[in-house]
């Protein structure tokens, strides 16, 4: 077949994907952007071209406080997910020798995912409560006299739930990249006299960057957009950007919610594009 005919044919093959993305991604996002300039009252929203929605969001100290809080959650969660996720993946890839065991242990990691997100999150509540299991165990062990109030309905609880929910999103891509590292590279490092730590820092870590980056993108986007975990685990006392949007939708303030969503989308895209500058995921995959 003539090369240009092949090109045209492969162009046709991409069409279904383009169609799906256009209908389910591009069009909705465009609609959200359009609505974010509309005006609203208690029961309705209507076409207009106003900047009030953005003006309020960008000038309100609450927005900045909320974003600051959301970014804090994201960073802390990322730190824990990455360190735990990398350690688990490293153990699976390098310390577990037989492939059967690797697969078995990997499946063990996914067991919590057999129940829903919400269930896994809510099950922390009776555990951490004032009269919960954690507090009674600590009290019975004589370690504390008064129950620890900060265990539940606090930022601690929010981050704990996030780490619990999202660490696997780091384990999977990191494990994947670690498995693809050519073992002869590590042998070469050892032959060249590198210590275990040096091998880890100078060989394994740089080679696992694509996996780390993919995991990080998952965690950043999931935490930045979350509203339900923050609500339940903080007892409704902390705000996140997602919660603000959810509240606005509940109160029929669609244009305000749309404006907030546009800003959140822009923020997340910015963060992800910065992250992608450090690693060319396509090249390394």
């Amino acid at each position: 077949m003539h090369p240009s005919a092949v090109n045209r044919l492969s162009g046709l093959l991409v069409l279904p994907l383009v169609g799906i993305l256009a209908v389910f991604l591009i069009v909705p996002v465009c609609l959200i952007v359009v609505v974010s300039f509309w005006d609203y009252n208690e029961w309705d929203f209507f076409p207009a071209f106003i900047f009030d929605n953005y003006a309020y969001i960008l000038t309100s100290p609450v927005t900045w406080a909320t974003y600051w809080r959301t970014v804090q959650y994201t960073v802390i969660t990322w730190v824990f997910c990455t360190s735990i996720g990398f350690t688990v993946a490293y153990f699976l890839a390098f310390h577990v020798r037989s492939q059967t065991w690797q697969i078995a242990l990997f499946l063990v990691c996914t067991i919590p995912f057999w129940t829903s997100n919400i269930i896994r999150m809510i099950s922390w509540i009776p555990f951490l409560g004032r009269n919960g299991i954690a507090n009674s165990v600590l009290r019975d062990a004589g370690l504390i006299e008064e129950p620890l109030e900060w265990l539940l309905f606090s930022d601690f609880a929010v981050v704990l739930a996030f780490v619990h929910l999202y660490t696997l999103f780091m384990v999977v891509p990191v494990f994947n990249t670690l498995m693809r590292i050519d073992r002869s590279v590590i042998e070469a490092a050892r032959d060249a006299g590198a210590s275990g730590w040096q091998t880890l820092v100078h060989v394994v870590l740089p080679l696992s960057k694509p996996g780390l980056m993919i995991g990080s993108i998952f965690i950043v986007t999931l935490v930045m957009g979350d509203f339900i975990t923050v609500r339940f685990m903080s007892g409704g006392q902390s705000a996140s950007v997602g919660r603000v949007i959810a509240n606005e939708i509940a109160l029929l303030q669609y244009p305000a919610a749309a404006a907030n969503a546009v800003i959140l989308l822009a923020t997340v895209l910015l963060i992800v594009s910065v992250m992608l500058r450090y690693v060319d995921i396509r090249k390394e995959l």
């Binding site: 208690e42 029961w43 009269n131 007892g235 705000a239 919660r243 109160l251």
Partner: protein, 446 residues
């Protein structure tokens, strides 16, 4: 997503069934035009008294889709409608935010809206509901005064906020603005209402609680809660601030920006000082907070108190000297209803006020719009306990047969007139609603 008002109520998605119901409705309508005319003539000649009426055969095919909050959207009611009236009532239970949303934005998804009066004020302007002709409401004259003149008894003082009668009438069938007196065209037919106050754990507090100020008492630091539904939460907050003497309100139900600022400043300060353990948004959250002992004093709804008590945990719906924050709900008719379906809707409303539903709901601690008809469906002891505030003679059970109160106990707050006569404020939607919502969100984020 997880905001269902009551966890044990099955939710049917009438939006999904809406399409089929609609197309069936169209063909039905054209088919029944003739019979409806005959029926109309029959009604006009006064040949019909009570139900079932002459067109009972046709009405069996009618399906009315009702949505509302969990409190009154009960499957028992739908089953009884089928039995007594013959037609099908589909129920959808949602939380109050979703109810508002649907009433305002999805007019084709329902035939009957079971909404609160403050929601009515918010969504009436959207034009999705039609006013009801009170001459077709058999028990109209027996509806409690609160919903007609605004006065429970002739010498009652009308409370602040969106008092039901202020949004209960419009000038005509297509009226868009609310009338200030009884016009014969009603927006909502009142169904249930109640007086809300703070719930407490007497066993963990150990002393009498008499005022709304106790919610912010540092004694309960880290053990208090307020509900995070802005339009209702702001009222509870205002009751507290007024009781503390910190803010004087012109009308708690319609605050000025300055009053909103002052109220939220006091609550933000308390929040930062760690007064609140959590905020709750759905009924079951408030039950869990109270049951687990995380919270000892909080905003609460009557059935939540019952739910805590039924677990054997003491919980009191504490009457407070400043009075109650009250709410009322009613049935509104979709603007899309006409012909046979509209007749069926009137039939349903007349049946609703006839007493069976009232008795059913009053045995759960609510009040019915026409208490005297409900009396016929309650035992003397039940009526004495729930309505008259008398000590129970025997065990008081709820409609599902669960024992709620033992013999000798008295309802928190006493009789109907003691409770509904001490209403300080009605749930409301304010002129400065947009501003209030922003300030409330700031409070939550603070």
């Amino acid at each position: 997503m997880t905001d269902k008002t009551s966890p044990d109520l099955p939710v049917t998605d009438s939006a999904a069934t809406g399409v089929t119901a609609k197309s069936a409705g169209l063909s039905r309508r054209s088919l029944l035009k003739g019979t409806a005319a005959i029926a109309g003539a029959a009604v006009g000649s006064g040949a019909i008294t009570g139900f079932p009426t002459i067109w009972a055969q046709n009405i069996k095919n009618v399906t009315l889709r009702q949505f509302g909050t969990g409190v009154s959207n009960l499957n028992e009611v739908a089953a009884k409608v089928k039995e007594d009236l013959g037609f099908t009532l589909e129920m959808t239970a949602l939380d109050s935010d979703s109810v508002t949303q649907r009433a305002a934005t999805q007019p084709k998804s329902f035939d009957i809206a079971d909404i609160e009066y403050w929601i009515c004020k918010k969504v009436w302007g959207a034009g999705n509901l039609q006013a009801m002709d009170t001459s077709k409401i058999k028990n109209y004259d027996k509806i409690v005064g609160t919903f007609r003149s605004g006065k429970l008894t002739p010498d009652s003082v009308i409370a602040q906020g969106t008092a039901p009668h202020t949004v209960g009438f419009v000038d005509g069938p297509d009226g868009k603005t609310f009338a200030d007196s009884e016009t014969g065209w009603m927006t909502l037919i009142p169904t249930i209402y109640n007086a809300d106050t703070l719930g407490i754990r007497p066993d963990l507090i150990g002393r009498p609680i008499e005022s709304w100020t106790e919610l912010l008492n540092p004694e309960f630091k880290g053990k208090a809660s307020i509900l995070d539904i802005s339009s209702i939460g702001i009222m509870d907050a205002a009751m507290v601030c007024e009781a503390m003497g910190e803010v004087q309100y012109g009308d708690k139900g319609n605050m000025t920006k300055e009053e909103i600022d002052k109220t939220m400043a006091i609550f933000t300060e308390a929040k930062k000082a760690g007064q609140f353990r959590a905020f709750w948004k759905s009924f079951d959250e408030s039950v869990n907070l109270m049951t687990s002992g995380e919270v000892v004093i909080q905003s609460m709804w009557s059935p939540a108190i019952t739910a805590v008590r039924s677990k054997g945990i003491p919980c009191v719906y504490q009457p407070l000297k400043e009075g109650y924050r009250s709410w009322g709900g009613g049935l509104g008719l979709s603007a899309n209803l006409s012909g046979l379906e509209l007749d069926a809707a009137y039939e349903y409303i007349n049946w609703y006020l006839d007493g069976w539903v009232g008795g059913f709901l009053m045995r759960q601690g609510y009040y019915s719009a026409v208490p005297e008809t409900s009396k016929n469906y309650m035992s003397e002891d039940e009526w004495g306990f729930w309505f008259e505030g008398k000590a129970a003679q025997g065990d008081i059970t709820n409609p599902f047969g669960q024992v709620m109160e033992k013999a000798g106990s008295i309802r928190d707050g006493g009789s109907f007139y003691d409770r509904m006569g001490a209403v300080a404020c009605w749930n409301a939607v304010m002129d400065e609603n947009k501003y209030m919502v922003r300030k409330w969100n700031e409070f939550i984020a603070a």
